[in-house]
Amino acid sequence: MTSPAQPLLPLALIVDDDPALRALSRMSLEQEDLRVEEASSGQAAIDFVAVTMPDIIILDLQMPGMDGFVACQQLRQLPRGEFVPILIMTGLDDIDSIAQAYEVGATDFIVKPCPGLILSQRVRYMLRASEMLNALRSSESRLAQAQRIAQLGGWEWDLVKDRMHVSDAACRILGIAPALCDHSQASYLARVHEEDRALVAEAMREAVASGTEFDLDHRIVQNDGTERIVHVLGETIMDDTGQAECMVGTVQDVTDMRATEAKIYFLANYDSVTHLPNRSLFLHRIAQAMTCGAGSHVIGALLVVGLDRYHRLRDMHGSRKAEQLIKDVVERLQHTLSAGVTHVQSTGAEIPVLARLSDDQFAILYTHPSAPDSAKVAHTLMSALGTPFVIDGTSVTLSAHIGLAIPGADGADADVLLRNAVTALQSAKTTGQNSYRYYSSAMITSLAARISLEQDLRAATAENQFVLHYQPQVDILSEKVVGFEALIRWQHPTRGLISPAEFIPVAEEEDLIIQMSEWVITSVAQQQRMWHKGGLAPTAVSINLSGLHFRQRHIAGHIKTLVYEQGGILRILNWNSRRAC
């Protein structure tokens, strides 16, 4: 184990041409536990200090060759020589030279001959002061460092003398060269953006008048025209009589912080593709509108526009193309809505709020009493979307449904109103393409029935609740059975047999149809194999496939595989394309 290194004793350098006086000073300083080095001339002192910086220098003024003045001046020029304490020793008759010594950078002086104890005590005092100054300098430099990292600066405004001291760090933030700062409030205000200036001056004035503090963001314009945002804080300091004496404060460059905050706000409240308000912001807008209208007559409407088969289009064309399609849709919606406003501009109507609720749902809120007839709006929007769009150079026709709810009547708060408009949309979807519906409470019941059918259908697919009925196909002339048509039936555990007319549209809507059809193909192939094994002649079986099936790639190959896996016979397996409904 090594013992911890002893802290080094402070090092004093004695510069004197007289060996007797050097010896005397050395003895005096060694009494105080200092390490002592000697230099017999100014040049020797400089050579020494250039290599080793002492903690204090005791310098005789009058020496042959380089005198103390020149030596002192040159010592100050050396690296780190700026801060070392230099004690000048001079005779009583040299009083005139003391002023000159201070001018060339002496820290203090002492008259010689000087009793050893006085010299050592003076040196001890100077070392302590120097240590404190060093600590202060390092603390200042740490503070400056921290302020630089935080882009923070300080200022102090003397209200009595109307002088504003702006720290170097604050000057840098304001884009003023510290040397050029004229330390007045005006020079600060001159940096403030023209449009913010009156506001800042007023905030300062008010804080002084009321003896309080102020806290605001404002823009500054730097010399090169760069605009930055700063956060400024000021506190009024009172004197003993309760008069405002000065104001102290900080200024911080928050440009990047505010930009990040704005980005976070945007991401939280807007749709990144269309830059429209998202569901969260839209709900907030509805709530705002309903609060503003409370008590008075809020005549308006909430429309939810749902695009049909958007997800299928996205799967076929990829996200980027789908995003472009959505942008085109938004452009049409906006164009239609603003056209409607132009029409009623004389009545002072506002452009309604348009938002994107989800991938394929948009919402429009009319709050103004003179909003156009909502049914007319729904019509116009649907006919606007009815014109084909272009994806990948091919024309695509979109269909849409619209659900409408009336603020107040169909919901007293934003959540309920929006939910009811979406219910109306879902109800509209059950009534054929390009239709719209106003919300009614009866929809809840039919919607519940539909949702339960959906859930049951999913379970049925998983639990194999379907059965196939084979309808014979008879050749009228020969009266022979020439084949069968396989028809799917749903054996519902509680409701009994359910007609395909009821569940096929739901299966298509919910993307269950493909899975269902594959089950049919597999089952028919198995049935064929059993008939064949039983000695029956090969028989043709027709099956019905949804139109959606034919949007799949390699459909023929896929069906072939399914049939062969089960030992079915493909060449006599017919298929009919069922109209997708």
Partner: protein, 119 residues
């Protein structure tokens, strides 16, 4: 001729027991080359070299003051002032006094040194 022995006290006060005799060391250093400073002063006077006189007078003054040689210090001060003002002629009559004061102080110091060495 005055040598203020009380001045030695500020030196002896620094003395630590068992360590080298401080006053003896300073006295030895004084006696070793102070005669040279006196000689330089006279040479400067003879040559009319005010700078040489000034430097020698200053150095001799400083070390003499530390050891309490008051008369010698005062004389050195006079040489220093007059040489700075370029009035070497005015200083000429002081040369003998300087020698006398230096001899007296040196004797005084040497006696103390002998006493201390004997002790």
């Amino acid at each position: 001729m005055i040598v203020d022995v009380k001045a030695w006290k500020s030196i002896t006060s620094l003395q630590k027991p068992g360590k080298e005799d401080i006053l003896a060391k300073i006295l030895t250093l004084y006696l070793a080359d102070s005669q040279q400073l006196v000689d330089k002063l006279h040479q400067g006077m003879d040559a009319g070299d005010a700078t040489a006189v000034n430097q020698a007078a200053h150095s001799l003054k400083s070390r003499s003051a530390v050891l309490g040689a008051l008369s010698l210090t005062t004389l050195c001060q006079q040489f220093e002032t007059l040489s700075r003002q370029g009035q070497l002629t005015e200083a000429e009559p002081l040369q003998d006094q300087l020698d006398a004061a230096f001899d007296h102080a040196s004797q005084c110091f040497r006696a103390e040194l002998n006493k201390r060495r004997a002790a």
